[in-house]
Amino acid sequence: MSLNNDQLLNINNYLDFKDLYHLDLRMEIFDHMVESIEMKMSMGSTFSEAFELECKKWNPELKSYSSHWLGLVHSGPKLVMQKCVGTIKKLYLKSLFAALVVAVCLFVAESLFPLKANPAIINAFVGAGMFICVFLWVYWYIRIRKSPKQTSYGYFIKINTIGSVVSIFIFNPLVDTTFGYGSPISLGFGWIFLHAWIFVWTFLFAKIFRKHGATINFRLAP
C-alpha cells in the first residue's frame, strides 16, 4: 500500500517541524517512516493511527539536543547532534595524535640539525599557511550557507567555523609576533605542536567538506 501525496506531505511536515533538514539523515528517516507506516496500514491501521505511532517512536530521537562537545549554544535533532559528537571526538583524537607525531618529528629533527634560517622566514611560512587555512574555512562556510541542500557534515563544519577561524587567526605569528618562533616567549615544542595541530585540524575538516559535497551531489545507483 503506497501513501498518497498528502500523507507524504504530513511526514515531510513532521520532519520540518523537527528541524531535520540534513539530507543524509532526512532521506533515510523519511524512507523509514514511510515504510513503517505502509506496513502498519497494510495490517489494518488507518494513516492517522500509524502516523501517530511513528511520530511517538521518532520523537525521542529527533528532540532538541545539545552537547558541551559542540558548544551548548548549538542545538538540533538528537540524531544529528549525536552524529556530530561522535565525529568531533574522533577528530580531536586524530588531530591531537597526528599533531603530536609531527611536532615530535620536527622537534627532534631541529635538535639534531639546527635550522639556521631566520625565525622571520619560518614565521612567514607558518603565517601564510595559517592564512590559507582561514581562507579555506571561510570558503567552506560560504559554500555551505549558499547551498540549498544541507547535510550533517555541512552543519558540523558551520558550527565549528567561528571557533576555528578565531583560533587560527589569534595564533598566527604574522598577526601577533608573540606567537612566532624566536620570540622571547616562544615555547619551542609547544608552538610547533600548536601550529601542527591547526594544520591537521583544517586538513581533517577538508575531508568532511568533501563528504558534504559527495552527499549533496550523490549519484543514484541503477
Binding site: 503506497s2 507524504l8 543524509d24 539523515l25 532521506m27 533515510e28 528517516i29 523519511f30 524512507d31 523509514h32 514511510v34 515504510e35 513503517s36 506496513m39 517512536k57 521518532w58 525521542p60 530521537e61 540524531l79 549525536q82 552524529k83 561522535g86 565525529t87 574522533k90 550523490f218 549519484r219 543514484l220 545507483a221 541503477p222
Partner: protein, 136 residues
C-alpha cells in the same frame, strides 16, 4: 530479548552458553555490545540493506522477540560508515530516496574478525561459567 539471537546471527550453537553469558552480563549490555556485529553479519549475508529492512529482518529472524530501535540502529550505522566499514548507495524507490548500506572491503575483513573475536569470547565465557558445555 530472544535468547536465540546469537544462535541465529553469530553462530553460537548452544543456547545454554548464551543463557549463561546473558545471566552474567545482563541482556541490555550484551545486546548493545553485539549490535554492530549483528549489522555487519546481516550485511554480509544480504549484500545491501536499508535501515528499515535491517530492523524487519532482525524481527523476522527472532520471531519478533528482538526489536532494534531506531535510536540504536542509525547511530550504529553512521559509526560503521565513518569507520569505513560500510559504503552507502542511494536509489530512487516510489518517488523517494532510499539509502542502502553495504560492506566495504575493510568491512568484510572486519566482519570476519569480529565474529571470530566473539566466538573466542563465548568460548572463554563458556569455560568460566559452565565448563561442561562446549560450542564444538
Amino acid at each position: 530479548m530472544n535468547k536465540k539471537l546469537c544462535l541465529k546471527f553469530l553462530g553460537i550453537r548452544k543456547l545454554a552458553i548464551f543463557e549463561s553469558i546473558v545471566a552474567y552480563m545482563g541482556n541490555a549490555k550484551l545486546y548493545k555490545g553485539s549490535l554492530n556485529t549483528i549489522i555487519l553479519k546481516l550485511l554480509e549475508e544480504q549484500g545491501k540493506m536499508y535501515g528499515y529492512e535491517i530492523t524487519q529482518k532482525v524481527k523476522e529472524l527472532t520471531k519478533g522477540e528482538l526489536q532494534i530501535t531506531e535510536g540504536a540502529l542509525y547511530p550504529a550505522l553512521h559509526k560503521l560508515e565513518a569507520e569505513g566499514l560500510l559504503d552507502v548507495e542511494v536509489t530512487k524507490v516510489d518517488n523517494r530516496l532510499r539509502k542502502y548500506y553495504k560492506l566495504t572491503e575493510a568491512g568484510v575483513k572486519e566482519t570476519k574478525n569480529r565474529l571470530a573475536e566473539l566466538e573466542d569470547f563465548i568460548r572463554s565465557m563458556q569455560h568460566l561459567v559452565n565448563p561442561k558445555w562446549s560450542i564444538d
